[in-house]
Symmetry: C2
Subunit: 341 residues, 2 copies
């Protein structure tokens, strides 16, 4: 349940979740473990999970590199036997596993490999800069800091205010929640920006604002290529910088931390400079992730970020997305004015 | 023959090239068309090419996105019938074409899809920064400006001087010339940096200097993700910036040019800033491509670049690689001194 995929689906699709399989927290509820998700039960095994009557099993783990741990193969076969479809965001496609593929075919179940890319992606051509809506991309100081969550919170509040806002999923979790999108980290490298461009064009229909889910970080040693392809392919007019306050080093290198996360102002400069090399863009707000702090230090962290950057700052989950909403609305006014000229 | 893949193989592997199929230049020699490659004949059709007795046919075209034009399928089948292996650097794998695959199997011919990535690539972990040799990466102001050529010229001169230097191919053309490497633009996006890391580790054995072939450009709307993944994954200690002097706009958008190539100094800042976010690096020299200029304007272009950047500058093909060699040797001395401290 500590996996981002699992807990984001619980947060945003609780009504579709009948249970969670997690040996470490069996016997509790989602609410007990995560502080949200209410009575969704946590069970110890696939067998107990299947007894809750799901129509699909969603693989919510996100191992580095995205490959399937071996013991999962047996559990997923069990789920197919029971009558479930499978949803997976792993880099290793379940549909390519001979055992699971044969079984799903024989039983008439469906396997959705959410990271499987379209086969007809274009090389990006800059078309994303021509769309009518304001395009906003979240960018981060690291992986897994709240780039998707910031956009989902923002989309919800903007739509509630009557601003037609579309969230554009670029990763497996966003795709699970929204039911469409492309996992840009899974496309062939030459087509990262092309995938981003296609998503922005698709997301722009009937929208005033397009909120693109960011990925990785511009200084992440493993994933920065995905980050930059997404930044250049989506041609965002504005950026929201996301940061997990208590993180000192870039993650994914827990065994030998080596890259200290630089100050927010360095990220602002870096993203604006590199992004604007293709399409003019600016950071308009900061979204902080303070889930592991108490209210007071969380509020102080926001204050410090305001002082350091001069930008609007909030933790959209803890304190609400209002400062982000205001920044986006204000940017959209400037954007529309500039387009009229 | 205007394709980079074709003419680079002619330049660096003329001794292995028995002929070139190119309808536009049939009847001439490579020397007539390119100014190098001496008597290698150019013929109009695959049939005439096969009459020259090749043991392999190399697909030297590089269409945007890397897919095979339909009419080529028949010609390649003809080549298999004749007794040739096939070498291809296209994104579309010849070995996955049912007709070509079946024919090659039946006839015992081999199909080398040079862009087919290894299946076991890691997520980059920064290991490339730990290798003993000095790592030098070429970076560019655009695609197809001479990043591979600069490294090949440099490798040749350094090795002639007795400095053990290894060229590391990261694209299909380099792989054709050297017989090893990974086409980093063809790997799944999450593994770009991991592929670069593996190549640097492999290239470091018994080498004093590792010269990594760069790809794309940090401000290329389609390919910048590949560029940055390569920059961060290979952890270069030094960069050589490559530029095609007469190019005004980023290529690949010939129908609607939209991104003007900024001054060299902007690229120097951009590459150093973004690169050093993961591993400290600096631009140590500029390599110009002046093939479409006369000697005098070519020399003036070098002078202007020296004035603008304060760095050593040459066109390594026209004027020799000596200034690049000196810059690399000097950087290596500083590098070794810093490591001893």
């Amino acid at each position: 349940m500590t996996s981002k995929t699992a807990n984001s689906v619980i947060r945003y699709r609780a009504e579709n979740t009948v249970g969670v399989v997690d040996r470490d927290h069996a016997g509790k509820t989602a609410q007990d473990v995560l502080g949200f998700g209410q009575g969704i039960p946590v069970v110890a095994s696939m067998r107990e999970g299947l007894a809750l009557g799901p129509s699909a099993v969603l693989v919510g783990i996100a191992p580095q590199g995205g490959r399937l741990p071996d013991e999962w193969r047996g559990w997923l076969a069990e789920a197919l036997d029971y009558g479930c479809d499978l949803w997976s965001g792993l880099h290793t496609f379940l549909g390519d596993d001979p055992v699971l593929a044969a079984k799903s075919k024989a039983l008439g179940r469906r396997i959705f490999d959410l990271r499987r890319p379209p086969t007809d992606l274009p090389i990006a051509s800059g078309q994303a800069k021509t769309v009518d809506p304001l395009v906003v991309l979240t960018v981060g100081t690291d992986c897994n800091v709240g780039k998707m969550t910031a956009q989902l919170q923002l989309a919800r509040e903007l739509n509630q205010r009557g601003v037609r806002t579309r969230f554009v999923p670029t990763g497996q979790t966003g795709i699970m929640i929204e039911g469409w999108g492309i996992a840009v980290d899974a496309v062939v490298a030459d087509f990262i920006a092309g995938a981003a461009e296609r998503l922005v064009l698709e997301g722009s229909a009937n929208a005033d604002i397009v909120l693109v889910e960011g990925q990785g970080s511009i200084n992440h040693p493993g994933y920065s290529g995905v980050t930059l392809g997404l930044l250049h392919g989506s041609c965002p007019d504005a950026l929201i910088l996301c940061h997990h306050v208590t993180r000192e080093f870039l993650g994914d290198y827990a065994e030998a931390p080596w890259l200290r996360i630089p100050p927010l102002t360095e990220y602002v400069t870096l993203y604006e400079t590199v992004g604007s090399a293709v399409h003019p863009t600016e950071v308009i707000a900061i979204s902080l992730n303070t889930y592991d702090l108490d209210d007071r230090p969380a509020r102080e962290a926001c204050e410090r970020a305001i002082q350091a950057t001069g930008l609007p700052v909030t933790d959209p989950v803890r304190f609400g997305a209002a400062p982000l909403v205001a920044a986006v609305v204000e940017k959209r006014e400037r954007y529309l004015k500039a387009r009229r000229c």
